[in-house]
């Protein structure tokens, strides 16, 4: 990944893979009501992909230096398995962990590159993933931790 476009293509591909993953989970899920949840997750990832496509076309910009709240809910949750009988709580944990991993990947890459433009793109992508993580963490806070 040596150019901005290559980086964006990689990120777009990652979002598409996430959308496909959730679409597949929607097909496999046997638990009542979870198909719709995974379909919604998949649509959310498609929205992320579309935003990056807009960025690549120059129609939107990534903001690398914006503050995004980190609720740190993901950090202390255990890994869960992706089974056909997965609950909404565990589905959210999977989504949060995936967004956190993506955030870390782009943050690490930003640390490693010296070129200004590329660094800005990685930081911008990291912020995007941080926002996605906040979206799922807020949902977890509202729906799962209602009494906690």
């Amino acid at each position: 990944m040596n150019t901005v476009d290559e980086i964006l293509d990689y990120a777009i591909d990652q979002e598409q893979q996430a959308a496909d993953f959730y679409a597949d989970m929607a097909k496999r899920s046997e638990k009542s009501g979870m198909k719709e949840i995974f379909q919604e997750f998949s649509r959310e990832e498609e929205r992320h992909r579309d935003k990056l496509l807009d960025v690549k076309r120059g129609e939107q910009e990534l903001t690398a230096h914006q503050q995004v709240l980190d609720l740190k809910i993901t950090d202390y949750l255990v890994e869960v398995e992706t089974t056909e009988n997965i609950s909404y709580q565990d589905a959210l944990i999977i989504a949060m962990k995936r967004e956190r991993a993506a955030f870390r990947l782009y943050s690490d890459l930003a640390e490693k590159v010296s070129e200004g433009d590329l660094r800005e793109v990685f930081l911008g992508l990291a912020k995007e993933e941080a926002k996605h993580k906040l979206f799922f963490e807020s949902e977890y806070d509202d729906r799962i931790l209602q009494e906690n």
């Binding site: 046997e30 638990k31 009542s32 009501g33 198909k35 719709e36 949840i37 709240l69 980190d70 609720l71 740190k72 950090d75 202390y76 949750l77 255990v78 869960v80 609950s87 909404y88 709580q89 565990d90 944990i93 906040l134 807020s138 806070d141 509202d142 729906r143 799962i144 931790l145 209602q146 009494e147 906690n148």
Partner: protein, 596 residues
């Protein structure tokens, strides 16, 4: 005509430049009214809740409650405002004295000229009048009330006594106390709209004043067949909107309900309450013998339908039996409600789990309609490291053990994690089992979803509250049979989305505390595994809850749902209303074969 007759009118003009003998009509020499004069009315419309107490007390029928454009009815506000008719008003000020919200007063303005008599009928505080901003005039003295602002105190076991046993903490009103408390009700009916079951609160409170408790019981059973239960543990949204509570304490509606039920012997119920209609030949299956299922059963049985209830546990009552401890709801009170429903011919099959003993599909095949109300009985997992430690357990498991007479062996020190009612119950039960209790909650006390009364009583009984504390890990302690809880302090930060503040872990402020048991009570979920995939796929289900249509009916026509597994509020009174509502829908469905 003489010359004098022609000229004399002009002589008038010689007076034109003299000082007049009479005063002119305008400008009038206005004298302000006395400071406490009872002049034109002022209503602070934003503070008014449209309770209509002014309308009720007015002896001259000078006040009407009217709809105001742009003001919608909502919980705690009828959306109506008082309109005054100055052709009738005698300026007695009783409307000011009774005003529950304190929004109504009188200015000291008394002069109002207009050629349109209809203008003297106006909605104070809504129509723009010059005296609306006046601070002078008649106000009710803050210490003067037509009804006592404080409720009659309920006698309760003291904290030292209450934690020594599972005896009911609240002792109940005497007849004299109940009548005294009933006298505080202004009969506005704001509570009726807010109560999920729309209980006829003003009328059953009036039955206490009249000493006619049988009438009170009849009124309650019209919309709620669990009055003995709700008279003890209802979440009482009615009280949260009671206008008497705006400037004092709300009427103790829940305790008055309990008083009525306690006055009537179970053996008299059949004589007092409605009879079952003739057999219709229709059969309805109900899954779950909680408040939702049994309310549906009651109202369907009254219509003459045969009702079979399937309950997985060994006793009926659902979460009321296994999730609410006896010091809040004794078995005798719950049984008074349930046994009457059963006495009408409702069959309750205990230890009978749908999905295990009977297939869900066979219920749909064998019965004319099916109502599902299986509740939220699966404790949510914290999903933190070490959660399955042998010294960690769920709050619901603790409550279930105690309700079934088993010793949960929690030891002498307990950490309860959570801030809902189950957490408070787990904490208070643990105190009664002799443990020192620390409640850890991620947010602040004011964010706790538990009933305020439960929080206060937990504190009074000696539970220690640690707020803004996030549980992170459970691990082995050095001492055998104990567990270490790792938790971190949190700071509350504003939610970027505009929601309630969110706790954020402060990683430099970690704690390790040792307990005998960790009890997690962070919420409950549903288990719908008994519904086969082929049927579940057709149903609208989100976050583990059914999303019913009108009259609680699902897409599968025979299927109706209600209770915690189908509503957002997850309390007994909402489940009861779901049951009543579904029973009307099922009866209609059985009578006409039509969708509700």
């Amino acid at each position: 005509m003489s010359l004098k007759d022609l000229v004399s009118p002009f002589f008038v003009w010689q007076r034109a430049f003299e000082k007049p003998y009479t005063v002119g009509l305008r400008p009038i020499e206005e004298r302000p009214g006395a400071p406490a004069y009872r002049g034109f009315h002022i209503n602070m419309s934003d503070d008014c809740v449209g309770c209509g107490s002014c309308y009720t007390i007015c002896q001259n029928h000078a006040i009407d409650m009217v709809k105001v454009e742009g003001l919608e009815a909502r919980s705690g506000d009828s959306g109506l405002r008082p309109r005054f008719d100055y052709g009738r008003c005698c300026w007695c000020g009783l409307c000011i004295d009774i005003c529950t919200a304190g929004s109504l007063r009188m200015s000291n303005e008394y002069a109002w000229f207009t050629t349109d008599p209809d203008e003297f009928r106006f909605v104070a505080g809504v129509e723009n009048k010059s005296w609306q901003g006046s601070t002078a005039g008649y106000h009710r003295h803050p210490d003067y009330h037509l009804f006592p602002p404080r409720r009659v105190e309920m006698e309760m076991l003291g904290p030292g006594e209450s934690v020594s046993s599972f005896t009911e903490v609240v002792k109940g009103y005497s007849e004299e106390q109940a009548k005294q408390e009933a006298d505080r009700c202004v009969e506005c009916g704001i509570c009726v709209a807010t109560c999920p079951a729309h209980m006829d609160v003003p009328d059953y409170i009036r039955s206490i004043r009249d000493g006619d408790y049988e009438k009170g019981l009849q009124l309650m059973y019209r919309t709620n067949p669990f009055p003995a239960t709700c008279g003890r543990i209802c979440t009482r949204r009615c009280e949260s909107v009671c206008p008497v509570g705006i400037q004092g304490e709300p009427v103790a509606i829940r305790w008055l309900k309990r008083f009525i039920v306690d006055q009537v012997e179970d053996s008299d119920y059949a004589r007092i309450l409605p009879e079952v209609a003739d057999d219709t030949g229709k059969r309805v299956a109900i899954v779950g013998a909680g408040p939702g299922g049994l309310s549906t059963a009651y109202y369907l049985r009254l219509k003459g339908h045969a009702v079979s209830v399937f309950e997985a546990q060994s006793r009926p009552g659902g979460m009321l039996r296994y999730g609410v401890p006896g010091y809040r709801l004794p078995d005798e009170a719950l049984d008074k409600d349930i046994e009457y429903i059963r006495s009408l011919g409702v069959e309750i099959h205990l230890n009978h789990s749908v999905g295990r003993e009977t297939a869900f599909t066979s219920l749909l095949e064998d019965y004319d309609a099916v109502f599902v109300s299986t509740g939220l009985n699966v404790p949510s997992k914290m999903r933190i490291q070490g959660e399955d430690h042998p010294r960690a357990m769920a709050g619901l498991t603790l409550l279930d053990d105690v309700a079934n007479g088993r010793d949960p062996q929690i030891g002498g020190s307990v950490a309860v994690i959570g801030g809902g009612n189950v957490a408070m119950d787990a904490a208070r039960v643990s105190r009664r089992l002799g443990a020192e209790v620390t409640v850890l909650y991620r947010r602040r006390i004011e964010d706790m979803p538990a009933d305020t009364e439960e929080i206060e009583e937990s504190q009074a009984e000696g539970c220690t509250f640690v707020t803004q504390a996030i549980p992170l890990e459970a691990m082995d302690a050095e001492q055998e049979g104990k567990v270490v809880l790792k938790w971190g302090e949190a700071e509350m930060v504003p939610d970027p989305g505009g929601g309630r503040p969110r706790p954020v872990l402060q990683e430099d402020r970690m704690h390790l505390d040792t307990f005998d048991t960790i009890i997690s009570a962070i919420g409950q979920g549903s288990n719908l595994d008994y519904i086969p995939a082929g049927i579940a796929d057709q149903l609208q289900i989100k976050w583990g809850k059914f999303i019913p249509g009108d009259y609680q009916q699902m897409v599968v026509q025979k299927l109706f749902v209600g209770g915690d597994v189908a509503n957002a509020t997850a309390d007994a009174i909402s489940a009861i209303e779901d049951g009543h509502h579904a029973a009307r829908g099922i009866d209609r469905f059985l009578s006409t074969g039509q969708r509700s």
